[in-house]
Symmetry: C2
Subunit: 343 residues, 2 copies
């Protein structure tokens, strides 16, 4: 069984001897070879240059027995393709070139052709697909519309989300207009990614927990369902809505075949509560990767042990691996998973 087959079997909730593993942000700053690349190229240059995106995507796969590659890219390439560029601030964090402030800004956002401006994603995926030669699964991704709209309306990261919430609560028709456009661009991007070889796609609703549970439906889920309905039925969609694990019924109704969870939920409980045809992904605390290899491996083994006998599990962290992670602890976790069950 190849890694790719294992990954797709887990998405389909088929019984497996061990779960497949990939790690959010597996190509990232904790790897010396990534930092070396980063000295020669900016983040956005690596994202936009297919050969560089290929190289960064492949870096963790050369070191670790991961079952899936994920395209090296960024969720904010979609606002950028719609005409709202962004940059990384020197002091950290995101700054959009302007923020969406009213109907005129929304009207100016381009939708047709956003796909064409994202051709570099397709080109990178084609290169990676060829390199993988079917051995490992290939994942594409996009930000969920709520999360993208948050950046677009707030003009960057936010602590309170007061501007996007004001739009949501005070002018729902205008909010819906923005979300319709963003959702259309997400669909276009994900169709392109799937057509270029992505075996599955992940939707990051990184700011899903900013919405009250009673408004997660209208603020995020209806738009996610529109995406699910617009993509080819055979391609698994993974919904990772950070901090939303306390609202399981909502997530279960998203239409996504796989739900990703952070570390604040008990994964076996969630697995047993969800319908049997929805797989789960997660949910090791990323911080254990910053600790000693034996500590990290023990935490991974506890998670594996707790999921014993339960199908439909993709092993992952509960959020992206941190820049301070130890490469040798990442190795210890990967080895704990691929050598499971211990004999």
């Amino acid at each position: 069984m190849t890694s790719r087959e294992r990954f797709l079997a887990a998405c389909a909730c088929k019984p497996l001897d061990r779960p497949p593993i990939w790690v959010m942000r597996q190509a990232g700053r904790y790897l010396p070879e990534y930092r070396a690349m980063k000295e020669r190229h900016s983040f956005l240059e690596m994202v936009r240059t297919p050969e560089l995106a290929l190289e960064v995507t492949m870096q963790p796969l050369r070191r670790y027995p991961l079952d899936a590659a994920i395209l090296f890219s960024d969720i904010l390439v979609i606002p950028e393709a719609m005409g709202q560029p962004y940059r990384f601030k020197d002091e950290g964090g995101i700054a959009m070139e302007f923020r969406i402030d009213g109907a005129a800004d929304i009207a100016r956002l381009s939708t047709d052709g956003a796909g064409a401006r994202l051709q570099y994603l397709a080109d990178a995926l084609s290169l990676i697909k060829a390199e993988l030669a079917g051995s490992r699964a290939l994942l594409g991704f996009a930000g969920a519309p709520w999360t993208l709209a948050s950046y677009m309306v707030e003009g960057g990261g936010s602590e309170t989300f007061a501007r996007v919430k004001e739009l949501f609560y005070s002018n729902r028709p205008l909010f819906d207009e923005l979300m319709t456009k963003v959702t259309g661009a997400v669909i276009e991007s994900l169709r392109l990614q799937i057509a270029s070889g992505a075996d599955a796609v992940q939707l990051f609703d990184s700011w899903g927990s900013a919405l009250p549970a009673c408004d997660y439906e209208a603020g995020s889920l209806v738009w996610i369902r529109r995406i699910v309905a617009a993509l080819p039925a055979g391609t698994p969609i993974i919904l990772f809505a950070k901090g939303v694990g306390g609202n399981l019924p909502a997530l279960a109704s998203s239409g996504a075949r796989v739900l990703g969870f952070d570390w604040t939920v008990d994964l076996p409980t969630v697995r047993s509560t969800l319908p049997a045809n929805i797989a789960v992904q997660g949910n090791l605390d990323p911080v254990v990767m910053n600790l000693a290899p034996d500590v990290a491996a023990a935490a991974a083994t506890r998670l594996l042990e707790s999921m014993r006998g339960l199908s439909g599990h993709i092993f992952n962290l509960g959020h992206g691996i941190l820049p301070q992670a130890r490469p040798e602890s990442m190795a210890a976790v990967c080895n704990a998973v691929v050598s499971w069950p211990a004999r």
Copy 2:
């Protein structure tokens, strides 16, 4: 029925025509009269001077029909009483004077007499108790041991909690030693507060969500249960563990009579899932207080409507009110609650 009686009836899950209301951080920067006080006195001076703490505590009660007062204080007065002072950094955030780094630092932490060094809490509560004259409930509070230990070991706020987690995962006996001392000091402080007139006490596990669900028991809950067991059985304890709503079985086993929730859970669902003798508190999104009064009132009314017919609800926000909240929106929310049910 007085506000105090209403509050205690809600804690006991008795049926009520409307829930009692109080608001986390109700005495705070959104009030012009608080900001005026703050120009003349530092935060810690107000906390440590009973007459000033009385004045700040009473400010929101003069404006709004709140059913409970909460002592104006800070969770970090306990580490300070144990010999680990702190200050607020100019750029925002907390800096402990040093951080706990190994057995020697833990050995130096004082426990006996921490209560005596917290006498100002008792004095402030006595003043407030007299001023309230039994009309409204009076709340005391403390940080939960996990949250306090996080500040103490990290040396302030943290994004990753890597130091306290390293202690937890790599040296459990030493972690337990620290937690035993912190838990003892919390118990001493809460006993003092109850003896001085607190009708109920709230435990803030503000960083509870930093712990993986599978470790919430060993890292936080066992210590909370020790506190519950050590306090007078007649005094309601409210446990507010932010971000832990996805781990309801753990919270339900805490022994606390009331559980506070942030906005990421659906409160009627949680209310119906929990045993009937555990009350719930929450969970309006604080950001609605930053929006127009009609928007804030509509959000409050939706929450009231969703809880119709369910006993054991204390109306509150899902986290502290923000400095940018509009006093008139706070008024609109309070009025929506106390005039409920609409006739």
